[in-house]
């Protein structure tokens, strides 16, 4: 077997432990043997369909088809492009347009969106419905395949397709400043480098039961899936209803590994569910995606006393995570402004903390973190302008500019200070204020729009407030509802405040601090 293909990891686990449970989703369980078999059949169909589409879209979310799809697409040597039913149609259309994707694996949670998509296009798409015995009635302008087509493939693959290390395994999108999302391709080599590193440092074993809490449009989900399958362990997909308050799920499913954004821990604490020793079985408690408050980490550690608590950090462009910090309760936990340290950059990579001229800074000086190494993506697809800004050449190597301001102490621990631009994280998603401003300004026809992340507690933005500069009468409800058609829900402003003029600072720019002070009242 060619093990350059990430999917080979699943099939190695399958030969070792065929009867282990690979996946638990929607109250059903699938062994490595059976999931592998179904994936090879679906992979064969993907290869037998005559299509030049390198990408296969996943119109499946927290369903069997989503996980089967990821395994099948990867095994077929194609790249998966996950969609989210919470995304507005416009964003989905841009993702399809930028990637040129024409083939999709779909399940029912996406049917309303697919109907809308088909009504709005002349493109001939191909849809595969692995969970349907007959084609669903969602329009008639597409070519469709269902379960029986998958079952009756004439030439079924017996192993994963050979690929080249630089071939793309998945494509994720982040928001762009002009309103167009940016596509980040991650190669098999990028992902294998990541998996090798974390599996060696924090080994997962075949008896482990791992959470799958992250949306597949957010790359920590790729950690959940591939770390679990590399170890012949069990992936437990959390249903939407349990996502916010997963305590019961963690214990009922006897999870041994938990991975989520810190917001979920904060919610459990807020509702007083997070009590000492409530999670006795957890071996690892992992957090990333947003700042981890030190007091929250301490409370979680008490709730899961036998677990190692790991704080990860990493932009999607460098494949999931690139720094790690293991929380040591009480001892000398490192934090800055009550936020746990990011820790050290993986020793498989080079890093520098630099000023605006890319000149390296000293210990304790604040600068931008730049990274070079095998996890760094080859660059945004079809976006040479953005690539020139973010992927720079230095000392004969390519470095990714994270746009994150950090500083490092004399012991080598890195601390997060803030974003270099006005990009912030909301509910784990990276949001550029400029994109919101662009959209709101356009639909309101105001002179100017300024989006402010507010309130910020423990360095986590809880929402966005948008200021509009205009002397005209604005229908705020209408602007918000139109914004809802163009932006994902986490980017929609919580409130719009209209001012006749915006405060200006000495550089002639809008004084964001004055607006924040206004909000603080």
């Amino acid at each position: 077997m060619n093990d350059t293909n990430v999917a080979a990891r699943f099939f190695l686990s399958r030969s070792r432990c065929p009867s282990n449970i690979a996946l638990e989703v929607e109250k059903k369980v699938y062994s490595y043997q059976s999931l592998g078999m179904e994936a090879l059949k679906l992979a064969s169909l993907l290869n037998n369909i005559n299509s030049n589409s390198q990408f296969v879209g996943l119109f499946a979310y927290r369903s069997y088809a989503a996980y089967l799809g990821i395994l099948a697409i990867t095994s077929a040597g194609k790249a998966y492009l996950p969609f989210n039913p919470k995304f507005p149609l416009e964003r989905i259309k841009s993702m399809i347009e930028i990637s040129g994707c024409t083939m999709f694996i779909a399940s029912q949670e996406f049917y309303p969106l697919i109907k809308e998509l088909l009504q709005n296009t002349n493109e001939k798409y191909i849809f595969i419905f692995p969970e349907e015995k007959v084609l669903p009635t969602i329009g008639n302008t597409f070519k469709g395949f269902c379960q029986t087509d998958i079952d009756y493939q004439h030439a079924v693959l017996t192993e994963v397709k050979d690929i080249k290390p630089d071939d793309i395994v998945y494509l994720l999108f982040t928001s762009g400043t002009t309103g167009k999302p940016k596509g980040i391709p991650i190669s098999h080599n990028n992902l294998n480098s990541y998996l090798d590193y974390v599996q060696k440092k924090y080994p997962v074993v075949e008896s482990d039961r791992c959470s799958q809490a992250f949306d597949t449009t957010f790359d920590p989900s790729m950690h959940d899936i591939w770390v679990t399958w590399s170890a012949a362990a069990t992936l437990c997909a959390i249903p939407q209803a349990s996502l916010l308050a997963p305590a019961k799920f963690i214990n009922e499913k006897k999870l041994t590994i938990w991975y989520s954004v810190p917001s979920i821990a904060a919610f459990l604490r807020k509702t007083r569910i997070l009590k000492p020793n409530i999670f006795p079985l957890l071996r690892y408690s992992i957090f990333s995606g947003e700042a981890l408050p030190a007091d929250l980490a301490a409370d979680w550690q008490k709730a899961a006393p036998s677990s190692s608590l790991i704080n990860y950090y990493g932009p999607t462009e460098i494949t999931i995570n690139i720094t790690d910090y293991v929380f040591k309760p009480g001892v000398t936990d490192k934090s800055l402004n009550n936020v746990i340290a990011l820790g050290a950059v993986f020793d498989s990579h080079l890093y520098k903390i630099v000023d605006v001229n890319l000149k390296q800074l000293l210990v304790n000086e604040t600068g931008e973190l730049i990274i070079s190494g095998p996890q760094v993506s080859a660059g945004y697809i079809n976006n040479p302008l953005k690539n020139k800004e973010s992927f720079v050449e230095l000392d004969g190597k390519v470095w990714y500019r994270t746009g994150d301001l950090v500083k490092i102490d004399s012991e080598g621990s890195i601390f997060y200070v803030g974003r270099i631009d006005h990009q912030v994280k909301i509910r784990g998603y990276r949001v550029e204020m400029a994109e919101i401003e662009y959209v709101v300004k356009k639909i309101s026809k105001a002179e100017n729009a300024v989006a402010i992340p507010f309130p910020i507690n423990n360095n986590i933005a809880e929402g966005i407030i948008c200021f509009l500069e205009t002397k005209k009468l604005i229908d705020i409800a209408l602007v918000l509802s139109k914004a809802g058609n163009l932006l994902p829900d986490y980017m929609i402003p919580k409130e719009i405040i209209v001012l006749a003029s915006l405060p200006i600072n000495i550089n002639g720019k809008v004084d964001r601090n004055a607006l924040i002070n206004l909000l603080k009242g």
């Binding site: 209803a241 916010l244 919610f267 807020k270 509702t271 509910r427 918000l480 809802g484």
Partner: protein, 83 residues
């Protein structure tokens, strides 16, 4: 605090959020999702918890409640009043 008082209070919050989004509601079904309905998301739910604690001077403890239930309109009211 009676169940009816709390119900009124929560309903008012949902109506005003819905109106703000330009999608006014006339009735709130018992299974209205308080954490991801497009009208009410998880952040609104957190805000709601804080405002209920302030308004009624109570401490909300959902440790024995079923998340399938307490994230829905009627189930949420029951989970809090039961305490």
């Amino acid at each position: 605090m009676s169940s009816e008082e709390l119900k009124q209070y929560v309903a008012k919050k949902i109506y005003s959020k819905a109106a703000e989004l330009g999608e006014p509601m006339v009735e709130i079904p018992d299974d209205f999702d308080l954490t991801g309905s497009g009208i009410f998301d998880s952040m609104d739910f957190m805000d709601l918890l804080v405002s209920i604690e302030d308004k009624f001077s109570i401490e909300i403890d959902l440790s024995d409640a079923d998340p399938d239930q307490f994230t829905k309109f009627a189930g949420f009211i029951n989970a809090i009043v039961r305490k």
